[in-house]
Point group: C2
């Protein structure tokens, strides 16, 4: 029931240093180009030989898992910290925005978030749950205080963010999408935008985005 993960196994000083270098290099590269990065490139960027990567990670898959794991860990951390924020609305907002802006920086993470979890990932499944729990806290509080529709849940948070993430591409502007979703998710007063419900005097159909 304890130190199981990767950590403390008394590595030789240089070994640990190198392992970290690998993680950094891989993290950066994956974040930038997703999965299409080759082991050789990672090694190079870390200033090491490929063999070294394999001394620390069984295979590419494991390396990636380690990287993604970190991200999840960080997100769980973020969620926990947001759960401490006084105002429920602020807590929710900072979680939502914080999460998304973090995700925005990492292609590989995005891919991981959009694809069904690859089975053997179950140690990451842990982190996910931890994250989910914290999110739940924040969401529930926001619901209770009337910032979100009464039936909104942590699962919905995932749905909404996943949707937004799917629109983090060249053309599709995810903030717009988020707004669209929120103004339905947010409790009905929505001061954010001026979305007039009333009669619709002719609006010009040909109207480009912003």
């Amino acid at each position: 029931m304890s130190g199981m993960a990767t950590a403390d196994t008394a590595l030789r000083a240089d070994a640990r240093r190198n392992r970290d270098a690998v993680i950094d290099a891989a993290g950066a590269l994956f974040a930038e180009r997703g999965d299409d990065v080759q082991m050789g490139e990672i090694a190079q960027r870390a200033g090491l030989g490929v063999g070294t990567l394999y001394r620390h990670f069984a295979d590419k898959q494991s390396l990636r898992a380690a990287i993604i794991g970190r991200r999840f860990e960080a997100m769980a951390e973020l969620a926990r910290s947001c759960a401490q924020v006084e105002d429920a609305g602020d807590a929710f907002e900072s979680l939502l925005l914080g999460y998304l802006s973090e995700v925005e920086k990492d292609v590989a993470f995005r891919v991981a978030l959009l694809s069904p979890t690859p089975a053997h990932w179950d140690d990451i499944e842990k982190q996910k749950e931890s994250f989910s729990a914290a999110v739940s806290e924040v969401v529930d509080r926001a619901v209770t205080e009337g910032h979100l529709r009464a039936d909104f849940t942590a699962a919905d948070f995932i749905l909404v963010t996943r949707g937004t993430i799917a629109n983090m591409t060249e053309e599709g502007d995810w903030r717009r999408h988020l707004t669209l979703q929120l103004e339905g998710a947010l409790t009905k007063d929505a001061p954010t935008k001026g979305a007039p419900t009333r009669g619709a005097p002719g609006q010009s159909p040909r109207d480009s985005g912003r």
Copy 2:
């Protein structure tokens, strides 16, 4: 109407038959397992040798493009047909639901919809535009008649559907996500759920076309 793409080039009878077989096989396989299907498997399922696939398509990429192209074509068709529906609300609803339920059946199509278009795809870009135009018609009409928020556009339709598609996975239930989005996108009455605000005519389990 006009004969367009690759079609009628006077192929030997059996050749055309085989080509169709390839398209069917590939279509089914891609729809089921996305990109991780090998040429050999497609050939086998079509009851042909790999060589034959290459007689009809330059490479795997082209084959896939052909398949995806069909789907887009079909969607454009769907959109055009929905544009004919009398009631603007019904038109929008049937387009939205029709589109999504079609997409739901095809993994490869989903992937194509979520990933940035691979450059050389430009003949597909055509179909996309055609689709987009028809969607625009439907959407604009729905907006004018007050079924959708005034600033809703065809681009938003893409955002919303893409978001929904991203949630077409094992656990995440996309219908719920769609509801969440709609109740913000739809003009402000939304009584569907036990939301704290007032209510008006609903809109969730509507009828389906006529």
